[in-house]
Each structure stands twice: as structure tokens, then as C-alpha cells.
Symmetry: C2
């Protein structure tokens, strides 16, 4: 099964499981639409023995979850029903590819199965573009999403250099700033001040006055600024952390942005509201004419081309190893990705207990956040660089970039 | 000089001019920031004789305009001042890479120079992602932008197939639907109903009730829908064509979306307002829970990776040929791109009068628009396919896509 939001390489993991299941002589069944599919009146399944190698190759390089997925979180009752179904059908292993939510569901199933004395191995196989899962050095899906963000921001920063003003991009990653931070790879050794100049992470409180003052400083110095902001930025309100997107949503419900003419009813997931709000604040407070805000959107997890080959390989490896751990070790758990960063980068897998990842969140560690709070450290660049695969295309310009715009 | 919005391959044209100028033994000077740069107190220039081949190679593959550009439209006075400067400095040729606005400026300069009896050849070299210029089969910059749009939409449609609902993308291309139409290349021969299902072009009136009814039909049939909308869609209001973005802007000015709390002041260029508005209308009128709207943003013209190699080559060719036309023909004009679509696709350049392109707009011809008004024809696919370079990555799925979602 596949659970939660797709990543660019989630199907590589699925194909890894399928290929290794064949090697280990398991009969593998795929469930369409995860929890929803298995709980339907007639379970919605496919037999991998019917699928030829050519099709597996094609699927392994396809974005989106090839089995389909769901946002439905199973209740305790749902989990029990699934386990009963597995017992009834003499299923011996369950592989569930998903994030930290999915791990929790797997844990519930495992606990119930053990209480029934059933001999079923439950294996959670990690994926998430957010990279916010403990134990793992990084998660499959992150490298490709990071590569996309860095590619967009490098291109947009060059556009902004050619036609100066403020460019602001909002990235995914509500709880952890790994994806927002990845925009720092957009910087170029040939163009010292290309940007991004300001990176707003969800690990730090968003203080609007500081934000505007940083932009003012950069704009005064360069005549332009490139800013990357996490969708999860928050402020303190009545002693509580409140996400800006939540405030905007409430604002729109309370009449602002919700006119009686039927126009303008903003929503927030898959919406441009945060970028539009911040752009409007910059225009209003700093009196800068050319301010542009992009919300990077679904392409972060599904863009067809230029994904990280390293990410794709690791996603495949974690699927292959999941089968081996389950068959050889015969214990339930979560498969995690580790890495050694010596002269050469190498990654490998390990297993951990389901409780170590279930519903747990890892944020960007302090050593990766610059002391000024709105940038990252060289240590983060070292951490991220091998994950995006081949280096980004290098660039150059005829413009003078190290001083204020000269006309 | 480079004018207007950058494209992914505008620097390939610049490098084409630079390399051929060297072959033809011209001393080439680059003006930074176009009109703004030449009219400054101290013209902001570079000498191409100072630039080595390695740097030209790097620049030719870099997004953004390497000389910088401007949105400033020169007045008649500005054009006269520029021509006087050219005469004064004994400049014999002017190459101006830009869109149909730029052609108008070039025409003004040419007319004035002729009236002064000056022997200067003015050459306009076309670029625009919008592909909305007459005479040309297509314009450099379009193929790469089209490839990006198709890549995003194919990936997002697969994501939408995995996690069903409504996915809506807003593309650039205010006056002509070429870029919106390019999303049709996202369709896959392996996945018949992948999408996009509805394509809203600026060549046709946007009728909200029809739009909602088309979505309702697709959603009823498939449990999902992928919709691509031009930023330039318009409705009839008091007998006049009015762009939806303009209405939204006015709506927000009149209090809707412009609350006194300082939150939510939408703007429209580089904003998510149209996608958010349409998503909200779909949610409200069709009662569909999962509706997501992406505004594709600046990456359409500046995305670093996976640009069309065909586009890049044609952009180089048009720069090279511009120099030859100017030196050999010694008449002012605009360089245009033509193509033959036989068994093998071939393109070549020609010249036309400045007045044939200056301020002129070409829209998507009727033969490229499906009779239902919200799709394109096979003829358009034939037209577009060679322009995006190597075919998009082919994809597949384990989901059943030809019938309503089965759980």
C-alpha cells in the first residue's frame, strides 16, 4: 500500500518491493487507494505477478502514487478490521509506504495483530518530501523536491536579476524547514549576490517588522531581493504560536476577502494566499513597485523531469531492503535511510521500531540555521548537496551584481 | 540590447549575435538594462571582445536576460535620443532582442534615423514565451515554456490521479492561448483519462456556468478533474470584454479582500488570485471538498532544467542569422522563425518589415481550438510536439482510470 501525499520517487520504492518480493519468492498483492481500498466492500487489489518488467520500469519513473493513496487516517477499529482481513486471507507481510502518519497506522495494526497472536510482519517504508522524520538521515522524496525548489529559485533569481524588484517564493514543508532551506542551493559561485537573500523557516518565529527590515536592507544594497518562505511560518498571538495561513483563513472568513459579490474566497492548501499577503505587505510598507510572489505548488512533489537520480536510487533501495528485513528478520518495524558523508557519499538502510517514527516530527537542527535566523549554514549545504544528484546547471551574467543597480 | 520579459533561451540568441558578430568582424557592444541603460547619464555597456568563449557558453545556457532588461517603453523622444547617441558614436547596427513591444521601439528608431539620413541598420530579433507574434511559425522561448507547462501538468495530473479531487493550474499568456494549450501535451497514451480535461483559452469567452458544468460532468465520470486556465480569461460585462483578473483586482480594492486588519491585499501580476478565486467557486458551487489551485509562476519562463534543446538551438540560430541579414542585406527589419513540418521537422529564419510585428498580436488560430471551445485539436499537438525537444518522460499507473473511482 501507499499512504499520504505522493513524492516524485514513491513508485521507485514500490517497484523495489515488487522486484525483491519476486526474488524472495513472495506472492505480492498491491492494494489500490491504501486504507480506503482495503476497507471497501470488495478490496481493490492487483497481483504483481501479472505485471511485466517493462511496466515496472515505466512505473518506477512515474510521479504520483501508482497504487493511489488516501488522506483518510484509519481509526483503531479500521486497523483491527484490516488485520482481521489479513489473517483471514493468510497474508504474512504487509509493506506500507508512507510518512510518519502511516507509521502510526502500521503500529496500531502491529499491536492488534500481536494481541491476537497473529504471525504477520508489518513493515513501514518511509517516504516524504518534508524530510521531517526522526532516525533517518533524510527521507526518499526529499532530494528530488529539494532539487526542484533549488532549480525554480535559481531560475527566478536570474529573472529577478534581469528585471529587478522583489521576488518571493512560498515552499511546502509546514512543520520543518528542510525544503525551504533547500532554496539556498540556488546560489551561484559565479554570481555572488544572486539570492535567495532571506530564508524564512518554520523553526523560527516570523516577526513581520524584522522581515520587512531585512528586505529593506537587501533592497537598499542591491536594488532587488529574493526571499523564500515556508508555508508554515507562524507568529505569537495571545501567547500561542499561530500559523500565518491560519490567520489569513480566519481573516477571510470574517468578511475580509469574502465579498458578497461572489468574488474572492481564498482557501489555503493549494492556494496563493500567503505569497499574496506577504507581497502586499512588502508593497504597502516598503513602497516597492515591483513585487512578485510565487507559490511553488504541487510540482514540488510531482514535477516530471529532472528529479534526483540519487533520490530515485535510494527510494528503490529502501523498497528492496524492506523485503529483506521482513523476510530475514521477521520483526515489524520501519525501514530508515542512513548516510555517510566522507570523501564519497554513501547511503544504506537500517530498521527501527515503529514507535521511533510514528507521528514523530524532526525539524531542521540548530546547526543548520544561521545565527541571524533567516539563512542556513554551510553545514546544511554539505548535508544537502549529495542528495540532489548531479549538480544544478551553473550560470553566469553580464550584469554587475555586487553593487546597487547602476543605470 | 535585450527587452521585455526574459525567456529561458533569450541568452542563446544573445550569444548567437555575439559569436556571429565576431565571425563578421564587427565590434559588438552590449547595453545593460536596454532602454534604461542606454539613456542613463553614463551608458552602461560591455565590450564583447572582453568576453571569452567559455563565458559565452555558460551565458548561453543561463535563464534570465544576461544583459538585464526593462519594462520601460521608450517615448518618441527617448528613441530620438538613442538614435542621436548611435550617430554620435558611429554605431552601424543595432540588434534588439525582444517581443512585439520591442519591435515597436525599433521601428520608431528606424523611422527617425531614416529621417536624419543616418546609415544605421535596426534589427529586431524575436523572443517571447507567449508565441503571440505574427509572421513567425513560433517564437524562441515558447518551446521551453511549453515543455515546462506540460511537465508540471503531467506530474500534477498523476498526483491528482493518486489522490483524487480537482486540480487547477493557471498559466501565463494573457493575450494568446498557446502556453495554456501546451498543457495538452501532458496527456499520456498509457493513461487515457489522465488530463488535462478542460483547457480555458483567452481566445474564447469564459462563461462560469459552462465552466462549472464541464467540471461537474468530468468529476461525475471520473471522480476527479484537471483544469488548465489562461491568466487572460475574460467575461462580457456591460457589453465589454473584461479580464477576470481585472475584476478581482477591482473587487479587492472595493473592500473585498482588503480588510482593515492589514491582512489580505491581493495583487495580480505574480499572484495567486485567479487560481484561488476559481478554486473557491468550484468548492462553493459544486460542493467538492478537495480543490487545489496552482499558479505556475515565473518558472514558466526561467526554470533552470529541462528546457527544450530545439528551442535553445533555434534561439541561437535566430541570433546568428540576425547578424548575417543586417550585414549582407543592410536593411532594417525583424528576424522571424519559420518551420517545415514534413517527415522531419526543420526550421529556418527569414526577415520581415518591422511594421509586420510591431505591437501586433497573433492568437491561437481556430484550427487549433476544439469545437467545444475548451480543448485543443490534434493539429495543435502536431504543431507543438517538435518544439519541446525530446519527448516528455512516458508514465504509467496501476489505477483504473477509465471509470469512476472504485473503492
Amino acid at each position: 500500500m501507499q499512504g499520504g501525499g505522493p513524492t516524485r520517487v514513491i513508485n521507485s520504492t514500490l517497484v523495489g518491493v515488487a522486484r525483491q518480493a519476486r526474488v524472495r519468492e513472495l506472492e505480492l498483492i498491491g492494494v489500490r487507494r491504501g486504507i480506503e481500498g482495503i476497507l471497501g466492500d470488495r478490496p481493490n487489489i492487483i497481483h504483481f505477478s501479472d505485471i511485466n518488467d517493462g511496466r515496472l520500469d515505466l512505473i518506477s519513473r512515474t510521479p504520483g502514487a501508482a497504487l493511489g493513496t488516501t488522506r483518510v487516517k484509519p481509526t483503531q477499529k479500521d486497523c483491527e478490521k484490516i488485520v482481521d482481513l489479513l489473517i483471514e486471507n493468510n497474508i504474512k507481510y504487509l509493506f506500507y509506504i508512507g510518512g510518519n502518519d502511516t507509521a502510526l497506522a502500521v503500529q496500531l495494526m502491529d499491536t492488534y495483530a500481536k494481541s491476537k497472536g497473529a504471525d504477520i510482519v508489518f513493515t513501514h517504508v518511509i517516504k516524504t518530501i518534508d524530510n521531517d522524520v526522526p532516525v533517518n538521515d533524510h527521507t526518499p522524496g526529499y532530494g528530488s523536491a529539494a532539487r526542484y525548489v533549488a532549480s525554480v529559485v535559481r531560475g527566478a533569481a536570474l529573472d529577478n536579476l534581469a528585471l529587478p524588484g522583489i521576488y518571493l517564493a512560498v515552499t511546502m514543508g509546514r512543520n520543518a524547514g528542510f525544503l525551504t532551506a533547500a532554496s539556498a542551493l540556488a546560489r551561484s559561485k559565479n554570481i555572488p549576490e544572486l539570492g535567495p537573500h532571506i530564508i524564512c523557516l518554520p523553526e523560527k518565529e516570523f516577526v513581520e517588522s524584522d522581515f520587512l527590515s531585512q528586505i529593506h536592507q537587501t533592497y537598499s544594497r542591491l536594488g532587488r531581493a529574493v526571499i523564500v518562505v515556508s508555508e508554515g511560518i507562524w507568529i505569537m498571538k495571545d501567547g500561542q504560536k499561530v500559523e500565518l495561513t491560519k490567520l489569513l483563513k480566519e481573516g477571510s472568513k470574517n468578511g475580509n476577502g469574502n465579498g458578497e459579490d461572489g468574488f474572492y474566497h481564498p482557501q489555503l492548501s493549494g492556494s496563493g494566499a500567503l505569497a499574496d499577503h506577504l507581497s502586499a505587505r512588502i508593497t504597502a510598507e516598503l513602497n516597492i513597485r515591483r513585487v512578485r510572489g510565487d507559490t511553488l505548488g504541487y510540482a514540488q512533489r510531482s514535477f516530471l523531469e529532472g528529479y534526483s537520480e540519487v533520490d530515485w536510487n535510494e527510494a528503490l533501495m529502501i523498497g528492496v531492503d524492506a523485503v529483506n528485513y521482513a523476510v530475514d528478520g521477521h520483526v515489524s518495524g520501519s525501514v530508515a535511510l542512513l548516510a555517510n558523508r566522507g570523501v564519497i557519499y554513501r547511503s544504506h538502510t537500517t530498521t527501527c521500531g515503529l514507535s521511533e517514527v510514528a507521528d514523530k516530527v524532526r525539524v531542521l537542527p540548530e546547526e543548520f540555521i544561521a545565527t541571524n535566523g533567516h539563512d542556513i549554514t554551510p553545514a546544511f549545504i554539505e548535508y544537502l548537496t549529495p542528495l540532489i544528484g548531479i549538480p544544478l546547471l551553473e550560470v553566469d551574467t553580464f550584469l554587475q551584481v555586487d553593487r546597487k543597480r547602476r543605470l
